[in-house]
């Protein structure tokens, strides 16, 4: 399978009160289309989680496509909580790889800052089971905190060992011009930061922000007609789901859906985790990154945090993890994140990512997750 990345576009992530959904989507989308030489996509896939609950806006496929000047073509919203972006990319890839269309614009967009935190917290918790988790006031952070405590107690991992990840994210993100949070922190800062849901602290958690990212995907046929043949392709795509409710899953320290999605994507690309130069993985919370590194086969069970603390996955290592600064520092406009990841890895493989650069990167992987392990979309990108 070869689906080419003809263009990418991103907005800065932040509290962008003056920009609505369409402003953000248009900015990212047209950057991607311009990069691709102005070729208009035959279909539009919109990744978003909370337009219904926060903007009272459904019908988002039409709203965004027609709203940014792309009426008259198939368009629809794909929602998978914080994995909406990745699921949208997977959908776009499927449309092109199946031959149904020759080009698709995937745009992920999210506006989280229109309401106070308590309201957004409730909306985010809709990623969990409504009747048995949200009903009980289990916040999304709270559910992840259950996994963090379980993981730390089971594997004997200390607070400071876990903190190596957010410290790394901030260091990487500090020079990413698109990042929401651009200041370095220390392990002491993490340990002292406000407790959100014990043991998760503020500096374990991705910020609330607005943003949009877009990728223009084209088929082999369409790629030939572009002014410049794209140098990056999506060589493999994989998705999997698991139960939304955490109590009906096999374990509290594993994310089998991630393992399954990654195996599918890597198998399609004919690669193994060892081959990867760069990964952008889903670190909404420190504990996510730690478990996902293990699910990707990049670290033995229970060891990922320690490895990061020892310097693995830092710039210079293979793979380098989250050179963008990840969800923690680049930010996490939830429905858009999965598309940011693909845009960032594409730029790494092209050699023009404006932040921490992974020199000579040829093979990359993105992992986007919805819920606390319930939806995972993985894409493998290669230099072609």
């Amino acid at each position: 399978m070869k689906v080419y990345v003809a263009g990418v576009g991103m907005t800065r992530v932040g509290r962008l009160f003056d920009k609505g959904i369409l402003d953000l989507a248009a900015e990212a989308a047209w950057k991607a289309i311009d990069e691709a030489g102005g070729v208009l996509p035959e279909a539009v896939v919109v990744g978003n989680m909370m337009s219904g609950s926060l903007q009272s806006q459904d019908n988002l496929g039409a709203y965004v496509a027609a709203g940014i000047g792309l009426r008259g073509r198939p368009a629809f919203k794909v929602e998978a909580a914080c994995g909406s972006g990745g699921a949208a990319v997977y959908t776009g890839v499927s449309l092109v790889a199946s031959g149904l269309v020759d080009s698709v614009l995937v745009v992920g967009v999210e506006k989280m800052t229109d309401f106070p935190t308590a309201v957004v917290t409730e909306a985010l918790a809709q990623a969990a089971d409504s009747e048995y988790e949200l009903f009980y006031g289990a916040t999304f952070v709270g559910l992840n905190a259950l996994m963090m405590r379980y993981y730390m107690e089971k594997y004997g991992v200390s607070r400071d060992e876990m903190s190596a990840w957010p410290v790394l994210m901030h260091r990487n993100g500090a020079i990413n011009p698109y990042a929401q949070v651009r200041r370095e922190i220390t392990v002491e800062d993490v340990a002292r930061s406000q407790v959100v849901a014990d043991p998760i602290r503020l500096l374990d958690s991705s910020p609330i922000g607005d943003g949009a990212a877009a990728v223009l995907l084209v088929s082999e046929e369409a790629a030939k007609t572009l002014p410049e043949k794209p140098s990056v392709a999506i060589a493999g795509a994989g998705m999997s789901v698991d139960t939304v409710e955490i109590t009906n899953r096999e374990g509290l320290d594993t994310i089998p859906a991630a393992r399954e999605a990654a195996e599918r994507a890597l198998r399609a690309a004919g690669l193994s985790p060892r081959d990867l130069d760069v990964v952008e993985i889903h670190d909404a919370f420190t504990v996510n990154a730690v478990i996902l590194l293990e699910e990707l086969g990049l670290a033995p069970r229970g060891r990922a945090a320690r490895l990061v603390a020892e310097g693995r996955f830092h710039p210079g290592d293979r793979p380098t993890a989250n050179p963008s600064g990840g969800l923690k520092s680049r930010g996490h406009p939830v429905g858009a994140t999965g598309v940011y990841q693909v845009a960032e890895v594409a730029m790494q493989l092209r050699g023009d990512f404006p932040g921490v650069r992974v020199e000579g990167a040829e093979k990359g992987l993105t992992l986007n997750m919805g819920g606390d392990g319930s939806t995972v979309a993985v894409h493998v990108l290669t230099r072609v």
Binding site: A118, T121, E122, G142, R149, D198, T247
Partner: protein
């Protein structure tokens, strides 16, 4: 969260009485109840009242609470592993947050979980509090008098 009369009514037995489902194919129980066994995929299920005691397998103390929970912050949510191995997500109550420990024995109790404003419905559900052995409690009191 708006509380719909139908939703509260549909889920009342699992919430009030901690009734899950047991799979007649693989024998495992699950909660909350699902139409298909989440472990083996069989549709051969029946309702299963679950044990009301268990241990706290893991927990969190939520400081940034959601709307409607300010009056009980900091709020403790735990995964309780019941005596039969089934896991349940529930508030941990009647104990100081800093005294909650992984492994502590807890028992189920009915509590008022959600109230839909001053005019809406009240949602009751299962919470867990530190367990007291009935015989032990009676015994202790008998020793005192």
């Amino acid at each position: 969260m708006r509380l719909s009369p139908a939703m509260l009514w549909r889920t009342r037995v699992p919430r009030y009485r901690l009734v899950g489902r047991v799979c007649k194919s693989c024998g495992r129980r699950h909660y909350p109840p699902r139409p298909v066994c989440p472990y083996c995929g069989s549709r051969d299920l029946e309702d299963a009242p679950l044990p009301r005691r268990g241990i706290v397998e893991t927990y969190t103390v939520i400081h940034t609470v959601m709307e409607g929970f300010r009056d009980r912050a900091p709020y403790v949510i735990g995964v309780v592993r019941l005596e039969d191995g089934t896991r349940v997500l529930a508030p941990i109550v009647d104990v100081e947050p800093d005294k909650v420990k992984t492994g502590m024995e807890v028992e189920a109790t009915l509590r008022r979980i959600r109230v839909d404003g001053p005019t809406g419905l009240i949602g009751y559900g299962a919470a867990f509090r530190p367990a007291a052995g009935a015989a032990e409690a009676g015994q202790r009191a008998a020793e005192k008098s």
